[in-house]
């Protein structure tokens, strides 16, 4: 093999290549032997890691796109503009990966177009399907200026820019519906989903946590890309986003409290059961730890501190979705489920694919270069924050 190629092969690149190869092998097994050959799913436990992580987390972690679009275009906080494009890119890639994952997870992916012509508006899954389709289209249009600028096509660029506001409004509405409807999916299983998670407010919780993790994802993704692409970090902006994140965490805690009170379910918090520990772990990681961290000036005003606060939010979010979709469903379904290694590899391959695509697009398209916040403006913003 070419020596120069090998020397350029860094650690993370090799990890990505290995994971994607293992993932492709598992995809091959899934499509030659059926879902049963590749997964540990069963009649009693038909939704597992792929639905919980690839779909629920995938859509949630893409929430930065509509959050930032709303902040910049609807609330007209133009300071945040440098963060919009990376956020849209993350969301667009996220949705494309969710669709890829869906094509592997569905029993009959060849019939996915049925949702276009065979309607059942009483089904949450029907709403989910339409939200995925419509919002991916909106994201493609919101992403298109990045490609059109690179190509230098002026007229289509003008047309897209002239419909920005309706596009953003549609995007925010579709995302609101989509994020919450993923929670609504579980409203139908009051006897299967454990009481700490089952609530009439599931759609509300899914929406609030998606907004929170959307902010967290923008922080993480800005931090990582500033290192990868050796560019300046929009720190004052990220700090403000971090503060929004903390407010959302507080809202989440308050609604959780009210919800447990309404359902008379406080005793569930102290039962000696696996679910109790997982619930507390989720609350601890995703809500308590980042809340405490962000209340210390030293941590908040530190790049790494902000980064780790956001990372905790994301970990807590992932645990929440996995609890709702897997661990919280086990006792009610009378089944135990652990993903097979092929399920794990496909999930990891999809995540790697996301990182690879983000890096490549960031390198070759004008994602970051559009606006540079002048340093004096930065200091003004930080004054405003303090």
């Amino acid at each position: 093999m070419d020596k120069s190629f090998l020397s350029r092969l860094t650690f993370w690149k090799s990890v990505a290549i290995i994971l994607i190869t293992l993932g492709l092998y598992s995809v091959f097994i899934r499509f030659t032997g059926g879902l049963g050959a590749a997964t540990n799913l069963s009649d009693e436990f038909p939704w597992g890691l792929w639905l919980g992580f690839n779909i629920l987390c995938g859509v949630g972690l893409s929430a930065g796109g509509f959050t930032l679009c709303g902040i910049v275009y609807i609330f007209n906080l133009k300071d945040f503009k440098p963060l919009v494009r990376p956020a849209i890119l993350t969301a667009f890639l996220g949705y494309l990966l969710v669709i890829t994952a869906l094509m592997i997870e569905l029993g009959r992916p060849d019939k996915i177009w049925h949702t276009l012509i065979m309607w059942n508006p009483r089904s949450v899954m029907f709403e989910v399907a339409w939200c995925v389709m419509l919002y991916t289209t909106v994201l493609a249009l919101e992403f298109s200026p990045i490609v059109l600028e690179r190509l230098g096509w002026k007229t289509p660029l003008k047309i897209i820019k002239s419909i920005t506001i309706p596009l953003v409004i549609a995007g925010v509405l579709l995302s609101t519906l989509h994020q919450s409807s993923l929670g609504s999916l579980y409203l139908i299983v009051p006897n299967k989903l454990y009481g700490l998670w089952y609530s009439e407010l599931l759609p509300v919780f899914f929406f609030i946590s998606a907004l929170t993790v959307g902010c967290g994802m923008v922080i993480i993704e800005s931090y990582l890309s500033s290192r990868t692409f050796k560019r300046e970090l929009e720190f004052p902006l990220l700090l403000r986003l971090g503060q929004v994140m903390v407010i959302l965490i507080m809202v989440n805690v308050v609604v959780k409290f009210i919800d447990l009170m309404d359902r008379n379910s406080f005793d569930l918090l102290f039962l000696n059961r696996t679910e109790t520990y997982l619930y507390w772990l989720e609350v601890f990681l995703g809500l308590i730890v980042p809340f405490i961290m962000m209340n210390f000036k030293k941590i908040r005003f530190n790049r790494a501190g902000l980064f780790y606060s956001a990372l905790f939010v994301i970990l807590g979010f992932i645990l929440n979705r996995m609890n709702v979709s897997v661990t919280g469903m086990e006792s009610g379904s009378g089944a135990s489920y652990l993903p097979s290694w092929m399920e794990v590899f496909i999930t990891m391959a999809i995540v790697s694919l996301g990182f690879v695509a983000f890096t490549l697009i960031g390198k070759y398209f004008p994602v970051f270069s559009e606006v540079h916040t002048p340093p004096n403006k930065n200091s003004q913003i930080s004054k405003y924050i303090v």
Partner: protein, 252 residues
């Protein structure tokens, strides 16, 4: 045709499994004995507390599977059967995840998998027959008939033998009622039945969220447009004032 039902009297079942065999023959399924519902076993006999309990699709009055299917592959027919159209199915398996009785099963090893469950011998009934399992029962532990008649019959049996039977018809009110009804002399929770089900049909739970979509879209859309209108106007005013100031300074 009137809505049909099956009334299973658990006290009478002798566990001969003739119903399992008849079901397999009727649906041309491989003749191997199975202990739980699967894509090749639409009905099985469970043993609890020295009683035999036959499991099969409950054919709910307000089927959860029908409501959750994104492509409408399930439908509740006039005669009470909940039937499945495999041509529509995209394989999302929401029906399996949502079913309160954990009935639908999947052909996991197939490359063109279908959901499988009891079909209530739909075509046989349309021709005026009964289901294969009831036909095969030598102990009359299961009877087939009009839904209303069988509900009356079940109440009659219980009220005539109050010492023998538990005063509950399983399936009369569970999740809004089902077309398969059970009566028993042993409390249902001891027989592996899901006894914590509410009487409310489950589809109402998701509908309460789904029915809010139009209002969310309309109110949300107006609100977002309104916020944009205000913030945008504010921005325009700021810019206008800045220009005015610049002009004044130039004139001075």
């Amino acid at each position: 045709m009137k809505s049909k039902a099956i009334l299973v009297d658990i006290t009478k079942c002798i566990g001969c499994k003739q119903c399992e065999a008849a079901c397999k023959a009727q649906n041309k399924l491989p003749e191997v004995e199975e202990t739980k519902l699967s894509a090749t076993a639409y009905t099985v006999i469970d043993e609890h507390e020295e009683r035999y309990v036959r499991r099969l699709c409950m054919h709910c009055k307000y089927p959860t599977c029908e409501s959750v299917c994104p492509v409408g592959a399930f439908s509740k027919t006039e005669i009470g059967a909940v039937v499945y159209d495999s041509h529509k199915c995209i394989g999302c398996r929401y029906c399996m995840m949502a079913c309160p009785f954990q009935v639908p099963t999947y052909e996991w090893m197939s490359l063109t998998p279908k959901v499988q469950k009891c079909k209530f011998c739909y075509e046989k009934i349309l021709e005026g027959g009964t289901t294969a399992c009831v036909e095969a029962c030598p102990a009359e532990a299961a009877i087939f008939g009009d839904y209303n008649d069988l509900i009356k019959e079940a109440h009659r049996i219980i009220s005539e033998n109050p010492d023998k039977y538990v005063n509950h018809i399983y399936g009369e009110n569970e999740v809004g009622g089902t077309s398969i009804l059970y009566i028993s002399d042993v409390p249902f929770e001891k027989l592996g039945f899901k006894t914590h089900l509410e009487t409310q049909p489950l589809p109402e739970l998701t509908w309460s969220a789904l029915s809010k979509i139009p209002s969310i879209v309309m109110v949300g859309g107006t609100l977002l447009y309104g916020i944009w209108w205000i913030t945008n106007r504010r921005k325009e005013v700021v810019e206008f004032e800045r220009k005015l100031k610049e002009n004044n300074e130039e004139n001075n």
